[in-house]
C-alpha cells in the first residue's frame, strides 16, 4: 500500500509535466479527434489532482468536484464533441494556420513564458510553481489554439483548454472555490458547449463550411 501511495504521490507531483505533454501533443495534432482525446486526458489529470487533494484533506466538497470534473469534462463534453463531429460529417482536418513544427515551437515558447510570468507570484505566495505555470500555460495554449486553428470546433476545444487552465489555477492557489460556485461554473461550461455546438450546426447550415476564418462578412 505504501508503494502505491508513493507511486501515486510521485505521479501527481509530475502532473504538471503530463499537462505540458498533452499541450505539446495538441499543438502537433493533425486531427480534431486527437485534440478531443487529449482534452479528455487533461481533464482526467485534473480530476486525479482533485482526488488527491480530497484524499489528503478529507473534504466531501472536493470529492463532489472531482466527480463533477470526471462526469462533465472527461466524459460528457468529449462525448458531445464526438457526436457533433459525427453528425456534422465534417473532415477531421484541424486546418491550422501554422505548420506542426511552428505550433510546437509556439507552444514551447508559451510554456516557457508561463514559467516566467508565474515566478514572482509563486515565490511570494509560496505556491506550487510547476502547477501554477501549467495553469497559465493551459490558458495561453487555449488562446493560441483558438487563434491559429480555423475550424469552428477547434475554437471550442481551445476555449475548453483555456477554461481547464483557469480551473487548474483555482486548484493550485485556493484548493478550489466554494462548492456552489464550482457547480455553477460547471453548469455554465456545459451550457456554453451545448450552445456552441448548436451554433456550429447553424454555421454549417447557413455557410456550408466550418472554416471560421472565412466568416468575414461583417467588417469595419
Amino acid at each position: 500500500m505504501g508503494l502505491i501511495e508513493l507511486a501515486a504521490a510521485k505521479a501527481l507531483a509530475s502532473s504538471a509535466v503530463f499537462l505540458f505533454i498533452t499541450l505539446l501533443m495538441m499543438a502537433s495534432a493533425k486531427r480534431i479527434s486527437t485534440c478531443i482525446v487529449l482534452f479528455s486526458i487533461q481533464s482526467a489529470i485534473m480530476a486525479a489532482e482533485i482526488l488527491a487533494m480530497a484524499y489528503a484533506g478529507k473534504s466531501v466538497g472536493a470529492y463532489i468536484v472531482a466527480a463533477l470534473v470526471i462526469a462533465v469534462k472527461v466524459v460528457a463534453i468529449p462525448y458531445a464533441l464526438f457526436r457533433i463531429m459525427k453528425d456534422l460529417k465534417a473532415s477531421q482536418d484541424v486546418a491550422s494556420s501554422t505548420t506542426g513544427a511552428q505550433s510546437v515551437f509556439m507552444m514551447a515558447g508559451l510554456i516557457l513564458l508561463s514559467f516566467f510570468a508565474v515566478a514572482p507570484y509563486a515565490k511570494t505566495l509560496r505556491l506550487d510553481e510547476d502547477l501554477l505555470a501549467a495553469a497559465v500555460a493551459l490558458l495561453l495554449a487555449g488562446a493560441f489554439l483558438m487563434v491559429s486553428r480555423k475550424k469552428a470546433l477547434m475554437q471550442v476545444i481551445g476555449l475548453l483548454v483555456l477554461e481547464n487552465g483557469i480551473f487548474v489555477a483555482a486548484l493550485t492557489t485556493t484548493y478550489g472555490m466554494p462548492l456552489v460556485i464550482e457547480i455553477g461554473i460547471f453548469f455554465d461550461l456545459l451550457m456554453g458547449v451545448f450552445l456552441m455546438g448548436l451554433f456550429v450546426f447553424r454555421i454549417r447550415d447557413t455557410f456550408e463550411h466550418l472554416d471560421v476564418s472565412k466568416l468575414r462578412r461583417l467588417r469595419g
Partner: protein
C-alpha cells in the same frame, strides 16, 4: 421574498410563454409577465429605499447601487416589450423564429440580468454574467441569416473567452482574500470583501493582477476598445428590441460588475491603479469608436459604435473618480440607455419601412416617416450631448470632473471625439432625412405603442436634461454612497 420574486417572474414567464401555441396568446402572456416584473422591480426599489439593504439567503443581496440599476432595467424592459408588439409583425418565419421563442428567450435573458444585479457573491456574479452571454447568444442569432449566425458565433466565442479571463481575476481576488485571513467560505461575498479591503492591500500585486484580468474580462462584455470586436456585429444583427436590450441593459450590467470590483480594489490599494486602467480603456474606446463612426454604412452598426463610445465616456467618468465623476458616470448609464433605446426603436421603424439599414439607400425619411424622423433627430441630438437632453448634464459633469482633476488631455480628447461623433451623425442623418424620394410608399403604420414608446423616451430625456427629479437624484446619491 422581494428579491426571489424578481428572479422567479421572468423564469416562469420564459417557461409559460413557450407553451402558448398561438402568437396572440404568447404576446398577452409576455405583456402581463413584463408588467408583473416591472411592478416587482418598483416594489424592490421602494423596499431598498426604506430599508437600506435587502438580503435574501446567502447569495441574493440588493443595495443602493442595485436599486439604481434595477430601475434602469425596469424602464427599458417595459419600453422594449411595448415596442415589440408592433415589431413582431415583421419577423420572418423560420426555425426558432416565432413570437413565443422570442419572448421566452427574452425573459430568460431578463432572468439572467436580474441574477447579475442581485448577486451578493462575486463567484455568483461571474456565473450570472456568463449566463447572460449564453442567454443572449440565441437572441443575437435569432434571424438565422448568414450575418446573424456569424455575429452570434463571434459574440459567443469572444465574450466567453473574455469572461473566462474575468474568472481568473475573480480567483486571484479570492486567493488574496483567503491569504489575508478572510474565512474561505465567505471570501467571495462582496460585503465581506469590502469590510476586509484594507487588509487585502497587503497582497499588493495580487490585487492589481486580479483587477487587470477583471477589467479585461468584464471589459470585453462592456465593449472597451481592444476587446470590442463582437459588439458592432451582435448589436447590428440582432432583432431591434434585442439590440436595444443589449445596448441599454447588458452593457450597463457588465459595467455594474466592473464597478463592484473597482470599489474593492480602490478600497484595498487606493484608486490610482484601477482608475488609470479605466481611463486608458475609456479614452481608447471613445477615440476609436468616434473615428469608426464616420465610415459606417449600416445604421445599427453606427448605433453600436455609439454605444462603445458612451461606455468609454462612462469608464472615463468612473476613472476620474470623485463625487462629480462618479455621479456623472452613473447618470450617464441611465441617460444613455434611454437615448440608445430611442435610437434603436427608430432604426427598427426605418428597417421595416425601407427594407434595409444601409444609410446610403435611405432617403427622404422626413417626408415619408415624419414621426420616426422626429424620433431620430431627438435621439441623435441626445446622443451627441445637446443641451435640452439628459446626456448633456452627465457629459458636462464628467468634463468638469476632468478639468478639476487637471486631466486636460482627457478632457480635450473627450471634446474632440464628441465633435467627431456630431459630425458623423450629422453627415449620415442629413443624407437620410433630406432628399426627394417621393416614390417610396409608406409601408409602415405606426402603432400607438410605438408612439408611446418614442414619446416616453423623449420626455424622459428632456426631464432629465432640464431638472433631475428629487427622488431620482436621491436614488443616485444612495448608489454613490455604496461605491464610496
Amino acid at each position: 421574498m422581494t428579491l426571489v420574486l424578481l428572479l422567479l417572474v421572468p423564469f416562469l414567464a420564459a417557461l409559460i410563454v413557450l407553451t402558448c401555441k398561438q402568437s396572440t396568446r404568447a404576446v398577452c402572456v409576455a405583456m402581463s409577465a413584463g408588467a408583473l416584473e416591472v411592478i416587482a422591480i418598483a416594489n424592490a426599489v421602494w423596499r431598498i429605499r426604506s430599508n437600506g439593504v435587502l438580503q435574501s439567503g446567502r447569495y441574493l443581496r440588493a443595495d443602493g447601487l442595485t436599486a439604481f440599476f434595477l430601475l434602469n432595467v425596469g424602464l427599458i424592459l417595459s419600453l422594449v416589450l411595448a415596442y415589440s408588439i408592433g415589431y413582431l409583425r415583421h419577423i420572418p418565419a423560420g426555425r426558432f423564429s416565432s413570437p413565443r421563442w422570442f419572448y421566452s428567450l427574452t425573459f430568460l435573458f431578463v432572468f439572467t440580468i436580474m441574477a447579475v444585479y442581485l448577486s451578493a457573491n462575486l463567484g455568483m456574479l461571474w456565473i450570472c454574467v456568463e449566463s447572460t452571454t449564453l442567454a443572449s447568444a440565441l437572441l443575437v442569432g435569432f434571424y438565422n441569416t448568414k450575418g446573424a449566425v456569424e455575429a452570434g458565433w463571434k459574440y459567443l466565442v469572444v465574450c466567453t473567452v473574455g469572461i473566462a479571463f474575468a474568472l481568473f481575476g475573480t480567483i486571484a481576488l479570492y486567493l488574496a482574500a483567503v491569504r489575508s485571513g478572510v474565512n474561505p467560505e465567505s471570501a467571495l461575498d462582496w460585503a465581506v470583501l469590502m469590510n476586509a479591503a484594507p487588509s487585502l492591500g497587503a497582497t499588493g500585486n495580487l490585487i492589481k493582477l486580479s483587477f487587470v484580468f477583471v477589467a479585461v474580462g468584464y471589459g470585453t462584455k462592456i465593449g472597451f476598445v481592444p476587446m470590442h470586436s463582437w459588439l458592432p456585429d451582435a448589436h447590428a444583427e440582432a432583432p431591434t428590441p434585442i439590440s436595444a436590450m443589449l445596448s441599454a441593459v447588458l452593457l450597463n450590467c457588465a459595467m455594474y460588475a466592473l464597478l463592484r470590483f473597482d470599489t474593492i480594489t480602490s478600497h484595498a490599494i487606493g484608486s490610482e491603479f484601477s482608475h488609470t486602467l479605466l481611463l486608458i480603456f475609456g479614452t481608447l474606446s471613445i477615440t476609436v469608436a468616434a473615428l469608426l463612426m464616420v465610415v459606417q454604412r449600416d445604421l445599427k452598426r453606427l448605433l453600436a459604435y455609439s454605444s462603445i463610445e458612451h461606455m468609454g465616456i462612462i469608464a472615463i467618468g468612473v476613472g476620474l473618480g470623485g463625487p462629480l465623476g462618479l455621479f456623472g458616470a452613473l447618470l450617464h448609464t441611465f441617460n444613455h440607455s434611454v437615448a440608445k433605446s430611442l435610437m434603436f426603436f427608430t432604426a427598427g421603424n426605418v428597417r421595416e419601412n425601407f427594407g434595409t439599414l444601409r444609410m446610403r439607400r435611405i432617403q427622404g425619411m422626413a417626408r415619408s416617416m415624419p414621426w420616426t424622423s422626429a424620433g431620430l433627430v431627438v435621439g441623435s441630438l441626445a446622443i451627441v450631448g445637446m443641451p435640452p437632453f439628459g446626456l448633456f448634464i452627465s457629459e458636462f459633469m464628467i468634463l468638469t470632473a476632468a478639468f478639476s482633476a487637471s486631466r486636460y488631455l482627457i478632457a480635450i480628447l473627450l471634446m474632440v471625439s464628441l465633435s467627431i461623433v456630431f459630425g458623423a451623425l450629422l453627415h449620415h442623418f442629413q443624407r437620410m432625412l433630406a432628399g426627394k424620394r417621393v416614390d417610396v410608399p409608406v409601408k409602415l403604420k405606426l402603432l400607438p405603442s410605438d408612439f408611446a414608446v418614442m414619446g416616453v423616451c423623449t420626455m424622459l430625456l428632456i426631464v432629465l436634461g432640464v431638472h433631475i427629479p428629487g427622488a431620482f437624484a436621491n436614488l443616485l446619491q444612495r448608489a454613490l454612497v455604496v461605491l464610496q
